[in-house]
Subunit: 366 residues, 4 copies
């Protein structure tokens, strides 16, 4: 079967993946209310196309922190890719580069920071979970040395929050395939010797209990490398304002795909108020629920510069490694280009707020 949409890729992936791995990719927090809401909110946004305007020679490129990419759909950081395909993060990075877009390497990578940089042809970001200061310094220093363009700090996991379907499956990432960003090429035993918190304690895939990183310490983090700082996991206007105040270069409005903490609003529902408030101070991106090129256009119309896809990269990996991820991104690019044509846009800058309508159920804060 040749996938026509990402939903086809999803169905194909479910058929070829072991149940517990599929579930790890698919599951969300608690009752998965937010997972469903992420999609429903996109589907409830309507578009107002414009016709009989010149839409020849369309250009879907954007700039992300100064780096030009070919279309505004990027690849989110998502751990455990090597558990789905042996090429793991190397395949995904290569696919993103060959399609002309950005890849974000997760801390929970099966290949090291350097191994992924070796195969990447497009811009890279490094996603950071903060465990303790020593590990963080090690990771971001290596990322900078390997040419990563930004540090993308995930802030939305202050406490372990295992997904219930994973608990029922007793799912654990394959030992040795998860914390590659830490382990290689730096020798594992070496790292253990240097630190009191040993790596074996970290093989548990959940982030640990609160590790002391607060708003006040962002300056310390930034000074470690001087790289642009992206804050990922923004669910509220208040936290977005904090990011602007503390000098973040960009934010990713995200509810972690509904995987961390159920019952939050969908990302796209919170986007308008956030972009209105801080869009002039930093770059605003969005993930969580993006499955269609039209979703990217909707998000951009509501104030994002671009979007990220997470689970779909696994669907691509499961359906053929690098080629599968490329196929996934190619579908998104084609759909986004078509959405631009139907909305009378020749460039991404032509996408404006008037192209979408929000129904009365679209949530605003009360």
């Amino acid at each position: 079967m040749n996938p026509v949409s990402l939903f086809d890729l999803e169905a194909m992936a479910e058929q070829v993946m072991p149940h517990h791995k599929w579930t790890f990719v698919d599951a969300g927090a608690s009752d998965e209310i937010t997972v469903r809401r992420n999609r429903e909110a996109f589907d409830e946004i309507t578009v107002n196309p414009r016709f009989l305007v010149d839409v020849g020679n369309r250009d879907s490129s954007i700039e992300v922190l100064g780096e030009k990419i070919d279309f505004p759909v990027m690849v989110a950081p998502a751990g455990s890719q090597r558990d789905v395909h042996p090429d793991g993060e190397r395949a995904t990075a290569a696919a993103a580069g060959s399609m002309g877009t950005l890849y974000t390497l997760p801390t929970g990578s099966g290949y090291s920071i350097e191994e992924v940089a070796d195969v990447a042809t497009g811009p890279l970001w490094f996603q950071l979970y903060h465990f303790d200061d020593e590990v963080t310094e090690l990771l971001v220093t290596r990322a900078k040395a390997a040419g990563y363009k930004a540090i993308c700090l995930t802030i939305d996991t202050p406490s372990p929050s295992p997904k219930e379907r994973d608990v029922r499956n007793a799912h654990m990432p394959t030992p040795g395939l998860y914390w590659g960003s830490l382990l290689r090429p730096v020798d594992r035993s070496d790292l253990i010797m240097r630190r009191s918190v040993g790596i074996p304690d970290m093989m548990d895939w959940e982030p640990p209990e609160f590790t002391g990183l607060t708003w006040e310490r962002l300056e310390w983090l930034r000074n470690l490398t001087g790289l642009p700082l992206v804050i990922k996991g923004i669910r509220t206007l208040e936290d977005a304002v904090m990011c602007a105040e503390y000098g973040a270069d960009a934010i990713v409005v995200s509810n972690h795909g509904g995987r961390q903490l159920d019952c939050t609003r969908s990302s796209i529902e919170t986007l308008p108020e956030i972009s209105d408030a801080v869009g002039d101070n930093l770059e605003v991106y969005l993930d969580s629920g993006v499955r269609r090129g039209m979703d990217a256009l909707k998000a951009i119309a509501l104030g994002a510069r671009g979007v990220f896809v997470g689970r779909p990269l696994f669907w691509g990996l499961a359906n053929g490694g690098e080629a599968g991820v490329r196929q996934m991104l190619d579908i998104m690019r084609t759909e986004f280009d078509r959405a631009m044509a139907y909305c009378g846009c020749r460039t991404v800058d032509d996408i404006h707020r008037g192209l979408v309508s929000l129904n009365s159920d679209f949530r605003t804060r009360v």
Copy 2:
């Protein structure tokens, strides 16, 4: 089984049609959100009937660009009718005429402009897709010569947008049965010789990439024949205003039955704001989702002069060619007449805004 409603006809058609042909008729764009919304929006409109008034001797006729028809349900242009029944567009045109209503011949007809005109007894419009200027001039000139009353330009396909269920079925119209409006009686090889873009390249059923037709060129199109110009595919207030500014004689508020571009509002949801803005400047019609005579009354109460049905013509064709289409139109006429009686209306002019109520979910632009 004797069909009681169009939904009966639909179920009967699905049973007798090959799967891929049924799907071609039935499918919509992407996730078919707009397809569903087209129906849901009609069903959510409530009517406020009025009783104990004189509703004897009802007259359901209207005038469409000066042509009188017996009831305000007309037949939309819809390609590939000969793929469903050998009599194709000739059957549909004959049925429409015998029932006293208007037929719109699609560019993608299985019979030529002239062959359909030969059997038609009611008024005809010619629906135009613009491929290039030479073909357009050829088509509209022939349409005028054959007695068609208006050129109905479809503007809502600026780029190919194959329906995903068709892609999965690898559905293609039967060669030779689709571009009949172009091919006959003008000889096919002759046309090929005269043009650099050969007909074989056009057998693909999708409209091509943007072909250069913009608002500014409507005057050129109109001057080719001097016939009234109807613009079909209006989804927004903004484009409706453009039609008025550029001198269109009528518009069809339409989302192409949800077949081109998903996620737009339903046609009926956009109608009130459009008819309020331009209803005094041009004639406003509507299609997309009309399945009940009551739907026609609802649309007229909200500002349309009349409505078109698209997919139902195929259901009629599949259930007996001309007789089936006539049966479909007869059900619509009976239902519309009953709706008038229950709403206390003796003429179509008696239908007014107060006869319908919109619930709070009925979308307005935000």
Copy 3:
């Protein structure tokens, strides 16, 4: 099985009735949107109970056009009862009387006006369909002579509107069991001889095309007997105001149980605006969708004096004739009494608007 609620009775009735008779009772007009909405609207109304008040010795009686009944749930006129049980309207009338409530005899009765009056112990109304003036005069004169307390004119059938499920079943009431109100004890052949429109032409169960009865002629109707005039079938504020202007004594806000004309609002949705406007001028009753004693309390809180049940009388008849109807009414009485207790009401007059809340989806006219 011992029925606990009317829904139990309904399920039991479906099992014992022939399919076409069940369908005749169960079906609604067209897509049955209004049938569903009648229930959904009741279910969406919330109640605000009040506790720790004295609810001993409750009295659920009301006065209806001066007649006292024991609780505010009455029996609506509904034709063809003899098709469901041989005792038909006689059983239903006897049950209503023995339970202390009012019965409305339909024109389409299987027993004559006089035969029903013979067995009734409670107050009776006579429901009138107007076919022509001669028949109407005959019917209302006989009703008055037999002791009926009011003429209840149904106005919501200006044109035939067969229910589609009946059409598919080719359902017809059993000959001789339907127009009993006309036929007996007046001899059938005699009636035929006296009129140009013969009774056989009227065996078709649908009301005929518009018969000329308009607001202006209500005075003629009233003068035939001098009995109070109840207008049944009010769906709009406008028609309610007309009733007040033309001197009706009472109205029944009703959409005919969704059986005549689909797509209207539920009766209970239209009640507040109607009772606000005309409640001081005439008595306001309601039917369509009442299935719970709590529904009666909700309707009374929103401005009705009492309610009628229609389909449930058939469920009772099918489950044991008079005893079944009595069981149905007994459930309603028990439930209504309990609803009063929980809402802190000792009398029906204690029921007030503040006892119910309407959510934001409850329809108001736009």
Copy 4:
């Protein structure tokens, strides 16, 4: 299977319980609209988490009428626990105490007031149904003597209201296992001899018809013991205001889990207006629909001091008596702690209104 959430416990309980006992626990009044709404309303509330704040060393304790408990989820009074597990109320009380929370003993207990006090290690309340003054005086006096901290008067059962699924099952609590709070250690025959209303008459599990307790008599009740008075069953702002006026120390906003009177709003929907009005005058608690630690946080954000769980105690009992109840409470404590961490709260006092959002469907009184 190891339960991950209360919903797992629920599914496990349904599998091990006899159908009629399961149904007794599970069922709600009439159509169970309120049962469903209790959950839906919680699920529709969204949370607005805050990150990068110090959430180490969290403290989830609260004070309830001066008694400190470890987390704000308490055990509601719910009769017939001994019908689900032989240890019944003794197991539940012991589990609550060992988990550091409060237990409310129901009047309909399988063990006596004193027997439960003997095994309890945490604070106890005694829930009172008023049957007559003599029994009430006996009960509350014994409760005070046994060390119970408050009298929790249930006011929302002014009249019997059997759940329909129980009626269909002809479910009755096992004789001798229900009115234990009355029977032991006081000898049953002794009680019978002392009163005209014999205990056998009370074996019917439904509360009797209105017993004469009104607002004015609360002072009498309070004076019997001098213990704090908690009023349970508040569904409206009006009754909450009455509680404040008549000097109650606390209220439980509750619709009895939807088990007494259908069609009321969910408890959580009524909470904001109630806590706004009387939160400064008395302590406000909530039950009905609480199934997640996040629900407790939502309720606290909307004005409650803490919440109670009812049906879940039976799920715990069915899955292992005291250990099962402890497991249930442990899940709730873990979830609540996580919810605090994700919302940036170190103490329960940090939970504030801004942490939750209500969508436009959240009911307000109209």
